[in-house]
Symmetry: C2
Subunit: 313 residues, 2 copies
Amino acid sequence: MEKNYTIKDIAKLCQVGKSTVSRVLNHDPKVSETTRQKVQTIIDSVGFSPNRSAQAMRGAQEPVVGIIVSRLNSSGESQTLRAILTALYRQKITPIIVESQFDEKQVAHHLNLFKQRQVDSVIVFGFSPLSEDILQQWQGNMVVIARYFKEISCVYYDDQGAINALMDKFYTQGYRHIGYLGIHDQDETTGRLRTQSYLDFCHRHQLKPNFALTELDIEAGYQHSAQLAQPLDAVLCATTSLAVGMVKYLQEHQSMRPLAYIGQNPLLEHFVPNLINLDFGYEQAGNWAVELLLAQIYGNKTVEQRLVSFHLS
Amino acid sequence: MEKNYTIKDIAKLCQVGKSTVSRVLNHDPKVSETTRQKVQTIIDSVGFSPNRSAQAMRGAQEPVVGIIVSRLNSSGESQTLRAILTALYRQKITPIIVESQFDEKQVAHHLNLFKQRQVDSVIVFGFSPLSEDILQQWQGNMVVIARYFKEISCVYYDDQGAINALMDKFYTQGYRHIGYLGIHDQDETTGRLRTQSYLDFCHRHQLKPNFALTELDIEAGYQHSAQLAQPLDAVLCATTSLAVGMVKYLQEHQSMRPLAYIGQNPLLEHFVPNLINLDFGYEQAGNWAVELLLAQIYGNKTVEQRLVSFHLS
């Protein structure tokens, strides 16, 4: 009968740490080419499969990862989720998905459900308010996306840097009346943090703030576009959906202006030329979330925080 | 202590069938107003909650419905899924979602997982090839969407009627050179059935068929748009994503034409005026799928097929 090798066995055979083996399995570029080749050779020669190993870890049951998204049709989350699913499929791990609907009670409910149904690792898309308390007992079996937590592995975004970069682009193009359409302060990151970064930029450059805050959807963006005061040289939107609403409003009023936003929407960018936007790093966040989770499952790294970089397009 | 009423108890008290009670709980319009009031009065007076009843049925465990989507970012499926989730949340039933990626083996795998993890009702988004055989043992605990099966409850679409309606619209507008961009025949409904309906229409009206078949995504639609021959008065696309690819191609070549497609895409419709499209009934399908599933869980109706009607916009 074939021996069921574990990550530990492979690590011992290769004389490296467990986390190095898991990095190789996960195609982590941080592993040196020499190490990668050494580990891969051993893996191939003994016919090791991380899936079989993980199954062994759990008795007969296969590895299942629970994913708590906040809402399935959010454009940014969809990109991150796609990256997560692709990475998990590659590892032969089955993802099951539930929706929190931005409700902390639902997260608690789903975590309880996962515990009952033998789901032992979880990726949670953060939102506000979501407190670290209810996640605490999952430390070492959980990665949070889009919120920073001290005691739980997380992958979080550079909201401040992204707003600064887009404002700076407008500023260096000579615009001084830059409006901002954002999200309510109840939302900690997409809301408060982005608005504050806009206000800080205005303060540093002695610009007069001109902004409106609303909900995270196209229709709300459209409805609140009219609230920005004149004069208005250019508009920065906190999210893709607000940008869609704003474009609709400006086009209907024949008053299109230079427009920037955080996120990507190929259809919008096809129909409206010269939009300024940025890749916020959604896909990178998904890949990193799986990396951190695998390091928990197969390695010994239980808590790590990573800041995702954005890229101006 | 409060008695845990079951649907059966309520049915007996009201002197109606179990399925009538489940219809009332599910706000099914087919129940007469008199019956609805009678049943609702009893439900209210005994404080019956379908959720508590279902929990009782399963011992302590809450009801969980597994949903097997084919791919999360498909536009039509997203609309159906949203309707399903909303309806299940209303019933305090927890949905968990997995992706088949159009792979029958994955469906079998997920069904096995659901059985292991005490998920006892399933909604499956059909695709091709997906045979009735692997679903058979779930009869009475399953609803299939977008495929017709004899022995399993299903909600299926009117592909033929929709293609006919759109072709007829072009035809009555005087167009005689109508091109068609569709999906490969390996896909039974979105592919073969829609293409066949186009060809049948052409045959009946002595039009010369002019079509290209490709994969179900925007880029594929864009790449294959050039394959339609001239003369070309108008174009019918089998899906929204193909329509997006086709619009991109026609606009880039400054040769925009009357364009029709099955499905809806608010952003596309905002930017391109005069598109002809139809509501294929995605939302209705989601609502009906939950109705049929509730009739299985709470009632005694195990197999029912429903054809969803489309609506020209």
